[in-house]
């Protein structure tokens, strides 16, 4: 039997349902208002003033021919600029000299794209003072000051209109590859790159990890431990102790052998003899006088020989240059690309005989180097005999690898000593035999000393 509904009962049933629905809507509305939900960030957009600039400069392909014939790109991609870390600053934060009312100027005052970019580095400096000073004292800064048109300045590595944070930490984004393409390619084959590309959590270094981003120093200018090896030790802590377990004189090896010399097993090696003062600081070309070396090296492709090097060192130490001039030897790989092909440690050289043997490949290439005005190494070829000539005892007194750079004259002396010592014995025995043979042996003493030819002296000679 169905229940009977009257008006009263019906109204009592309808009212609560209405109220329930209303409360539900209100609750949802309140929840939407009060409970935070992930917000979809709005795309950054250029300000109105910047929109005004981008009205022209946002046009793809916009550029300007300059007085020297070079082209200044004036196109600023709006999207990239808006997303860049510089976007919120606004155009005029860097281009404060531009008066919108008189822009573009009637007269082109920009001499070249390079001069414009160079002038703009001072704008970068206003905010990035520390980075600018690091660059200024770097090899890049020195090259720029010397007028090298290829020396990187701020905008060569950083696109100011599209710069984003941490871009240079991506292997494929490093700006270094623009100039150092060969080294970059070599690095891609290294275990460092493989590790970094293989895992996003890898802390294996990219360029700036070892060379720093802005205070890039030439290897030659630093004393031991101030060059890239310092970066190696920064990550590979305890590496000296690990080597000391099996490598005799490990600390000395660290001082005179670069890490890649062993950890790039297929590399060609070279001994670099750097001119230093008695405090270990590299001699500069301006102190030593390059013509002295150029005259000595001449056009002979074999480079300076042992006796000439000795003469040069004698001259340097008599020429009035303050302090004593010495040669500090260091075994390294032959060039930059090879230095960046670091292999897995299981493939590193650990056979002492690789270097400690005569004719070792490690000692066939020798250079003598100084530091040029820009801080870069200036190398001069040398004959491999500078390492194993008797002259080297004096001229290359601080570099020696047992066996590998041994002095030939001492080998001759050893052979003479063996022949002499053995020859005395054999000759003495022979003479004794001859005296007996020709009846010249007549023992005078009863107890008898034997003739040198052998036998008991108490027995009469034949």
């Amino acid at each position: 039997m169905e229940p009977k509904l009257d008006c009263n009962s019906a109204s009592r049933k309808i009212l609560p349902r209405f109220i329930e629905t209303s409360f539900a809507i209100a609750a949802i509305a309140a929840a939407l208002i009060l409970v935070p939900v992930p917000a979809f960030a709005a795309e950054p957009a250029p300000s109105a003033a910047d929109q005004n600039c981008l009205g022209c400069h946002g046009t793809a392909g916009m550029e300007k021919k300059l007085a020297d014939g070079s082209t200044l790109k004036l196109h600023v991609p709006a999207d990239g600029y808006a997303k860049s870390v510089h976007g919120p600053n606004g155009c005029t934060s860097c281009h404060a000299d531009v008066d919108p009312a008189k822009h573009p100027p009637e007269k082109n005052e920009i001499a070249s794209a390079r001069s414009f970019a160079t002038s703009m580095t001072q704008v970068c400096r206003t905010c990035h003072t520390d980075k600018f000073e690091q660059w200024d004292t770097s090899i890049h800064g020195a090259l720029a000051r010397n007028g090298n048109p290829a020396a990187p300045i701020c905008t060569d590595c950083h696109n100011p209109h599209a710069i984003i944070k941490n871009a240079a930490t991506q292997v494929d984004q490093v700006p270094c590859k623009n100039c150092h393409a060969e080294i970059y390619t070599a690095y891609l084959g290294s275990m460092h790159a493989k590790s970094r590309l293989g895992s996003k959590d890898s802390y294996a270094p990219i360029c700036s990890g070892c060379h720093t981003a802005h205070s890039v120093k030439p290897i030659a200018a630093g004393a031991f431990g101030q060059g890239p090896e310092a970066a190696c030790f920064g990550c590979h802590a305890g590496v000296l102790e690990a080597h000391q377990k099996w490598l005799p004189n490990a600390e000395l090896h660290f001082e005179v052998v670069s890490c890649p010399a062993c950890h790039v097993p297929g590399a060609q090696r070279r001994v670099d003899l750097m001119l230093i003062d008695s405090k270990g600081k590299a001699r500069g070309t301006e102190q030593v006088g390059v013509p002295l070396f150029e005259a000595s090296t001449g056009s002979d492709s074999k480079g300076i020989d042992a006796q000439t090097l000795w003469n040069v060192m004698q001259t340097l130490n008599r020429s009035g240059i303050a302090g004593k001039t010495l040669l500090r030897g260091r075994l390294d790989v032959i060039n930059g690309p090879q230095a960046h092909q670091m292999a897995d440690k299981s493939k590193a050289l650990s056979d002492c005989g690789t270097c400690h043997r005569a004719g070792s490949q490690a000692f066939q290439s020798v250079t003598i180097s100084l530091v040029g005005p820009d801080g870069r190494r200036v190398g001069y070829g040398a004959n491999a005999d500078v390492l194993n000539s008797a002259f080297s005892v004096d001229s290359v007194s601080g570099f020696y690898a047992i066996g590998g750079t041994r002095i030939k004259l001492l080998d001759i002396l050893l052979v003479l000593a063996i022949l002499g010592g053995g020859g005395i014995a054999v000759g003495h025995v022979f003479l004794g035999w001859m005296f007996k043979r020709f009846g010249l042996y007549h023992p005078h003493d009863g107890h008898g000393h034997p003739p040198a030819g052998g036998g008991d002296a108490s027995k009469p000679a034949a």
Binding site: G353, R357, L431, H449, P450, A457
Partner: protein, 210 residues
């Protein structure tokens, strides 16, 4: 007549030294001539060279202590009379170069306190007072170049130290060859070797009485 001219400490020192010298020469040659000689690895040769080197240093200290505390040190006293020394040396050299072939008697007869002929006395003093200490010192510097870098630099660098070490090594190679041969020139080929084992040397009584 048998004379006890080689006391036990001297014999222990001598044969330890002999074995040590041979091992040092062999391991040193292996270290220097990797590629030409490959009996053991470079690293093994270095370990042997270092270990035996320190044994020889301890042995040298034993020798020095014995002679400093014993009246046998007179064997190493220099002949201050140069004329007498040179005449004795000349006679001994003449004997080895000529007299021995004719059957002349050895001009030198050992006694307990004078067991070295003038040539031996001069050579042993040069070796034990100069070459051996130089070899020990340069060897220690080469053992840990970094630790002793100040001294290495003072003497002109590692190559100078190594060159001196190798020159003394060459001198020792020559000395060992000649020393062993001269050891066969006793009244029998093995007389001096037996004497260095038993301590007793056979000496002609008449010559000793003179």
């Amino acid at each position: 007549m048998r004379l006890y001219i080689h006391p036990l400490p001297v014999r222990i020192w001598h044969w330890t030294n002999a074995l040590g010298f041979v091992l040092m020469i062999l391991s040193g040659t292996q270290i220097r001539y990797v590629g030409l000689i490959d009996v053991v690895s470079f690293r093994t040769a270095v370990s042997v060279h270092n270990f035996v080197g320190f044994v020889l240093i301890a042995n040298f200290c034993l020798w020095l202590t014995f002679y400093i505390t014993s009246d046998r040190v007179r064997a190493y006293h220099s002949e201050l009379n140069l004329k007498k020394h040179f005449i004795g040396s000349f006679r001994q050299a003449y004997y080895y170069a000529f007299g021995i072939f004719r059957g002349d008697p050895n001009p030198f007869t050992p006694t307990i306190y004078r067991k070295f002929n003038p040539l031996q006395s001069m050579i042993y003093q040069i070796i034990m007072m100069l070459l051996f200490p130089v070899q020990i010192y340069t060897g220690i510097l080469l053992w840990d170049l970094k630790r002793f870098s100040a001294q290495v630099d003072f003497f002109g660098g590692v190559r100078v130290i190594d060159t001196v070490h190798v020159l003394v090594f060459i001198a020792f190679v020559f000395y060992i060859l000649v020393h062993v041969y001269l050891g066969t020139l006793g009244h029998t080929r093995t007389a001096h070797f037996k004497a260095m084992m038993t301590g007793y040397e056979d000496v002609d009584e008449e010559a000793a009485a003179e």
